[in-house]
């Protein structure tokens, strides 16, 4: 396929662009296979906007003129007049981005406007992954031979010497046949061999058998994650699954299973082949049901929230009730309190925990990640956090492609979209706000990740799991976002200048009064958020300046 097929009009002059935080500009609009490029040709300013088409969630075109024209069109004799009208008319395209920015383009010429709109509509949601921009992006400062990714499970395992006694690295999934959404290597109890794992995989949805996700060095307790057991209506059991979990506890009195569904949901899941771990078969495990919202409900919540944020009625009651109605903050609260519960089981009560919901690729990852941030200081550095995301989201098989296909503005019928990753970033922001010294990264990093997950130059969030990424050759043909974020200049920008390492667990307050709307993201394109960013920028610049001073004063002193 050639992109040019979709581009009838590649260039339009004299377009007016209106975007938040900037005065309107007049200039040239270009459409390429992956980008919308606007360059301001006015004297004294050279504003350029380069927007990934993938970042466009929805467009609206104003077509009033077109309707009157098509009325005329039925009258054959007037087609000449129609031409005149078309050339003299103009259209407006409103572009709503996945990062919640809204742009408006006033385009002279109805036909040009319609062509541009059509191109954007087609090119912004291309299905074929291998045609996405990351496969074409070739920055001058990086090579495709650079290291891809920050770590692998193999490396993670070899670094964690304390694991080696009781845990082993299994490559049972090396060809992705046992569990398509798992990486090639996983960490499991030493006493379970690969044959057992294959059997357990058949007993868990999507083959997601329990694997180690976190080892708590202080007391040797662990967090495991999996998907739901496939007990079905007739309460099938699987000895190997029970043995595997028994091996996790190994001698200590009991463990906890945190199921991210309500009891009722879990029981109902039996009708569709799923189920839960019964008390009788898993006697040393205590099950805790904590309902977390998933899938569609979350997506709808996001849509409502963004709609509330964009409401211009200027009515305080309306804003607060819309905010409440969206339920977004309730979801943040539930996620943080469930993660708190998980961390409490491990850190305070000294028990190992298995986490799962249904598929084990969404809410499961959300709370296991947050719990690690709460307990483990090594996850709280910039590098540590990115490594955690790589391990717990990218490698663990969160289906980014499906979940982030659309954001809050899309009119398309919802399929698998769900802002689980965005909810994670919001929860991390809440932690960051409550513990401004404890996290080594800045709010800017969270904002960048929120944007990149939905539309990116990099290959990191492409595909739904490692298998898909291997098939596409993501490693060989795209650049890695996490590596890019750690380059010196980016590192300066995404580090928290106030960071001070602490060994302590950071327990977030989950009182409703303590949680706030993440204005930096949801109201990002309004001026007052901009002022706050500037103040943070100021502090960051000071810290960077010192770095330079320290470097420049070194040779002088010797």
């Amino acid at each position: 396929m050639e992109f040019s097929e979709y581009i009838k009009t590649a260039n339009v002059e004299d377009v007016v662009l209106r975007q938040p935080l900037h005065p309107p500009g007049r200039g040239t609009l270009c459409i390429t296979g992956h980008h919308l490029l606007f360059s301001d040709r006015e004297e004294g300013s050279c504003q350029q906007v380069l927007l990934l088409l993938r970042n466009i969630d929805a467009i609206e075109k104003s077509v009033e003129n077109l309707l009157t024209c098509s009325g005329l069109f039925s009258n054959a004799g007037l087609s000449q007049r129609l031409d005149i009208m078309l050339s003299g008319s103009s259209g407006t395209i409103t572009i709503k981005c996945k990062d919640l920015r809204v742009l408006q383009l006033d385009i002279p010429g109805m036909e040009e406007c319609l062509n541009i709109a059509r191109s954007i509509e087609t090119l912004s949601c291309l299905d074929s992954m291998s045609e996405l921009y990351p496969f074409f992006y070739r920055p001058s400062n990086a090579s495709l031979r650079d290291q891809w990714g920050l770590s692998s499970l193999e490396r993670h395992y070899s670094q964690m010497k304390e694991l080696h006694d009781r845990w082993r690295l299994s490559t049972v999934n090396r060809d992705f046949s046992v569990c398509p959404s798992y990486p090639q290597a996983v960490i499991v109890p030493k006493s379970t061999d690969d044959d057992m794992l294959e059997k357990v995989a058949k007993f868990r949805q999507g083959g997601r058998f329990p694997v180690l996700c976190y080892y708590h060095k202080k007391n040797g307790m662990v967090i495991m994650r999996s998907s739901q057991p496939l007990t079905g209506a007739n309460r099938k059991r699987c000895r190997e699954d029970e043995q595997l979990l028994q091996a996790v506890i190994d001698g200590s009195d009991k463990g906890y299973i945190i199921d991210t569904r309500s009891s009722q949901q879990a029981l109902q899941a039996r009708m569709t082949g799923g189920g839960l771990e019964s008390k009788s078969c898993y006697s040393s495990w205590k099950r805790l049901q904590r309902q977390m919202e998933r899938g569609k409900a979350l997506q709808e919540s996001l849509i409502k929230l963004v709609e509330a944020c964009e409401d211009e009625s200027n009515n305080m009651d309306r804003w607060l009730s819309k905010l409440e109605n969206s339920k977004w903050l309730s979801h943040v609260q539930t996620a943080l309190s469930t993660a708190g519960l998980l961390a409490e089981c491990v850190e305070r009560d000294g028990h190992s925990v298995l986490v799962h919901g249904s598929e084990g690729t969404d809410s499961t990852l959300l709370i296991s990640t947050l719990a690690q941030l709460i307990m483990d200081p090594s996850c709280r550095t910039l590098e540590g956090f990115l490594t955690l995301l790589e391990r717990e989201w990218v490698q663990a098989g969160h289906p980014f492609q499906q979940r982030c296909a659309h954001s809050a503005h899309s009119h398309a019928r919802l399929q698998q979209e769900s802002p689980v990753f965005l909810l994670l970033l919001d929860c991390v922001w809440q932690l960051w706000r409550q513990f401004p010294l404890a996290l080594g990264f800045s709010e800017a990093l969270l904002l960048r990740l929120a944007t990149e997950a939905y539309a990116s130059d990099y290959g990191t969030f492409l595909g739904n799991n490692q298998q898909e990424r291997c098939a596409l050759g993501v490693k060989e043909n795209t650049h890695c976002l996490f590596q890019a974020l750690l380059r010196p200049r980016e590192r300066d920008c995404y580090s928290n200048p106030l960071y001070e390492h602490t060994e302590l667990a950071i327990w977030p307050s989950v009182h409703p009064q303590s949680l706030q709307l993440w204005r930096g993201f949801f109201l990002r394109w309004t001026p007052q958020t901009h002022h706050l960013e500037e103040a943070q920028e100021e502090i960051r610049n000071m810290v960077i300046e010192w770095g330079k001073l320290a470097l420049s004063s070194c040779p002088a002193s010797t």
Binding site: R318, L320, P527
Partner: protein, 548 residues
């Protein structure tokens, strides 16, 4: 009256104190005429010194002979005292109730307080109307300082000196005063240097049902207009409320009699509605339930944020009129509440001087204390009191909340930090200083406050205190700052309303760290500058060192 009469049990041993974010302390409880004191006699635990006037209400409970008194303070803190012995507990509770509601001003603590610090500058003399007028004279000669109110007869709530248009004599002022609510004739509140526009404030005109008019009033406010220019009257009441006021003798400036003025009505809520809103808000903030929905709907039901938005919107409107070249007269009913909120916030928006520590003190002094906001009545009770509210209303607290909103939106444009606003809030409700005592300058003069009490500003304007209250991010910004008043942009003021509910330890640490970074940066910059100077000097002295 002797305080001793009110204190049956002056001290109790073995009292346990619970307070937010601090370990429990056991010690001796003492009651004095003005304080509740708990001291543990151990060096490492902090003592509690609580002004009785800070106590909003108490609750007592008994379990066997162990009594518990819950003390709810006007600064919204809640502490608990466990007192052994039923009788002792009852005595203590009765004493606190009596001492915390004393309404004889001359017995208040400020009259007994002697400063333990060196007064560098007497705050009572820092912001005299005469000095403010001298500043005005450097900008314009169209105004004069009138002494018509020197004995507080023309307007009991005005100061002895007020600025009025030069061409208006005192006789005219007396006539105008009889036509305005409470004698509050229009006076100058702010002169906008950039374009010479002015903001005035007054009480409502007393037109009554038969549409009385007062030529002198018309003459006075017209005298502030440039030839051919129109002005705006911002009435802080809705048109309905304003019309209804006619039945009680009040009213509005009719278009027929004031053809050069356009009236704009805005709905800023007044007294009792605001007090109820505060009570509901604080109740919501203290709600222990874990339900997000409940919190958000209680927050909404309190309407507090709506009030913040309305006040800010009206202030922006006033500022906008002035900035675009029109003079403004602001009033509501009495002109001592919502009027002052609007005029003082408009100045914060327009005038960079009001955003400095000293400028803000001067603003509070001019636009609230001297302008006759009845602090004694409005701040008699805070959010916990069970007694029927009379004149109480968090008008001044709402003003501070609005300032905080602007400060949050423009974190670099204010010389003071949030803690200054919190400090001013605390002292407006209960204080060892005399600044906020009384309802007007007349009352303050009668009580001889300047002679007998210490001013809050005397305490604030000392280097160590100023350092604590300074905003490390401050960079003088001479521009007008337009706050966003979209509901999405306004936040709950956590520093006051959630101060005692969630620990701010981590946030404080981060703040300290930021201050440290900025200080260090300044230090380094000074070092760089002095090295540069040395280098330049060496280069001129020694030609060999000059770079080729």
């Amino acid at each position: 009256m002797e305080f001793a009469e009110l204190i049956k049990t002056p001290r109790v041993d073995g009292v346990v104190l619970h307070r937010p974010f601090m370990p429990t302390v056991e010690g001796t409880l003492c009651l004095t005429g003005h304080h509740l004191i708990l001291s543990s006699r151990q060096d490492n635990t902090e003592e509690l010194w609580l002004l009785h006037s800070n106590i909003d209400c108490i609750e007592k409970r008994f379990v066997g002979s162990l009594g518990t008194i819950i003390v709810k303070c006007k600064d919204l803190r809640v502490i608990q005292l466990d007192i052994p012995g039923m009788e002792e507990c009852l005595n203590i509770a009765n004493s606190i109730e009596a001492l915390s509601t004393l309404d004889i001003l001359s017995l208040m603590y400020p009259f007994f307080y002697r400063p333990m610090f060196e007064v560098i500058e007497d705050g009572w003399k820092s912001f005299l109307p005469l000095d403010a007028f001298k500043d005005l004279e450097t900008m314009t000669d169209e105004w004069r300082l009138s002494e018509v109110n020197k004995d507080f007869i023309v307007c009991p709530s005005y100061p002895p000196l007020v600025a009025v248009p030069k061409d208006i004599d005192d006789d005219t002022l007396r006539k105008v005063a009889s036509f305005r609510h409470g004698g509050r004739f229009p006076v100058l509140s702010y002169y906008h240097k950039k374009n010479g526009m002015v903001m005035m404030r007054s009480g409502q005109p007393l037109t009554g049902t038969n549409g009385r008019r007062c030529k002198e009033d018309e003459k006075l406010i017209n005298a502030t207009l440039r030839p051919g220019k129109r002005g705006y009257i911002i009435d802080t009441r809705t048109i309905n409320v304003a019309q209804q006021a006619k039945a009680r003798g009040g009213g509005i400036e009719s278009e027929a009699n004031y053809p050069q003025w356009r009236r704009i009505h805005k709905a800023v809520e007044r007294s009792n509605v605001l007090q109820e809103s505060l009570i509901k808000l604080v109740e919501a903030c203290n709600d222990q339930s874990h339900s997000m929905d409940r919190w958000l709907s209680k927050l909404e039901a309190s309407n507090w944020q709506t009030h913040v938005k309305e006040i800010l919107t009206t202030a922006c409107l006033a500022a906008q009129c002035i900035d675009r070249g029109a003079s403004v007269l602001v009033h509501g009913t009495e002109g001592a509440d919502s009027t002052l909120q609007v005029t003082s916030l408009a100045q914060i928006i327009l005038d960079p001087a009001c955003r400095t520590i000293r400028g803000f003190q001067s603003l509070v002094e001019r636009e609230w204390l001297q302008a006759g906001h009845p602090f004694q009545q409005r701040c008699a009770q805070s959010a916990y009191s069970n007694s029927k509210p009379r004149q109480e209303a968090p008008v001044f607290l709402l003003f501070l909340d609005c300032v905080w909103q602007i400060l949050r939106q423009f974190p670099c444009s204010f010389e003071f930090s949030e803690s200054f606003l919190v400090l001013v809030f605390e002292h407006s409700y209960a204080s060892q200083f005399g600044t906020f005592l009384g309802n007007s300058t007349a009352e303050r003069a009668k009580l001889s406050l300047p002679e007998k009490t210490v001013s809050l500003w005397s305490w604030v304007n000392r280097p160590q205190e100023l350092e604590r209250l300074t905003n490390p991010l401050y960079e003088a910004n001479s521009l007008v700052i337009w706050p966003s008043v979209a509901p999405q942009s306004l936040l709950l003021w956590e520093g006051v309303f959630l101060r005692w509910n969630r620990s701010s330890k981590c946030l404080d640490e981060a703040y300290e760290e930021m201050v440290h970074i900025i200080e260090y940066n300044k230090e380094l910059q000074n070092k760089v500058n002095s090295l540069r100077r040395q280098l330049a000097q060496l280069e001129t002295e020694d030609p060999l060192l000059q770079t080729p």
